[in-house]
């Protein structure tokens, strides 16, 4: 599905938190996972800026590991603040999606 970018904007950060919450991972792998999920226009640069923001807001723990090729890779894992933020995201998502579903079903 094309042109999801605008709609995704507010939720992508939560998606990235969820993926990191599953296991410690790095930018390229997160991008691929989002692409496989069906978010085809998400590029690594987008994920990268989200990761920078998460790091700035102290929601993730960053470890540098050497990679086979090129410079070392940054791996991200959630810390306690990050897990809290993730729980908040799902609560908000639940709220928004239930309201929108309700609207669609005409139960205004």
């Amino acid at each position: 599905m094309d042109d999801l970018t605008e709609m995704l904007k507010g939720t992508l950060e939560g998606c990235v938190l969820e993926i990191i919450g599953g296991e410690e991972t790095y930018g390229y792998a997160i991008t691929r996972q989002l692409n496989e999920l069906g978010f085809a226009d998400v590029v690594e640069g987008t994920v990268y800026t989200i990761l920078l923001r998460l790091e700035r807001n102290k929601l993730v723990q960053v470890t540098k590991r050497p990679s086979g090729v090129g410079p070392p890779r940054k791996f991200y894992a959630l810390n306690d603040a990050g897990r809290e933020e993730l729980a908040k995201f799902w609560a908000k998502w639940q709220y928004v999606s239930s309201r929108i579903d309700k609207l669609k079903e005409g139960g205004r």
Binding site: G27, D41, E44, G45, L52, V69, G70, P71
Partner: protein, 118 residues
């Protein structure tokens, strides 16, 4: 940063040279993207541009990492290099020198108006 560097900006010149040397080593399409990134980040700079140095370093790091992965620059940055730079510099609402000028202008106009009893 010592006093001499603060006054002369010699540390900045040195950093720029280091950046350009790293950019030289990138593939052609990445180098073109690097030029664009510099252009889009420039308005977010402060007077000397010193605040941009860590941001440029991070952007260049991403380019190096992804080039080594063998991805195309389009796969990495997509079509919206400008948006990428705005997000790097601290999000959509990042203050640029234009914002600061606009603010100053508005303030001055408001002051003049109030003096006129407008």
């Amino acid at each position: 940063m010592n006093f001499w560097e603060t006054v002369t900006g010699s540390d900045l010149t040195r950093d720029w040279q280091a950046f350009e040397a790293r950019a030289e080593a990138l593939p052609d399409d990445y180098r073109a993207a690097w030029e664009q990134i510099k252009g889009h980040l420039h308005p977010h700079g402060d007077f000397t541009g010193r605040n941009l140095m860590p941001i440029l370093d991070a952007a260049l790091g991403l380019l190096e990492e992804t080039a080594a992965d063998g991805q195309s620059v389009h796969e990495v940055l997509g079509d919206d290099i400008r948006g990428f730079c705005a997000a790097l510099a601290g999000g959509e609402g990042a203050r640029t020198y234009r914002d600061r000028w606009r603010e100053q202008l508005n303030r001055n106009v408001a002051r003049k108006l109030s003096r006129l009893g407008g």
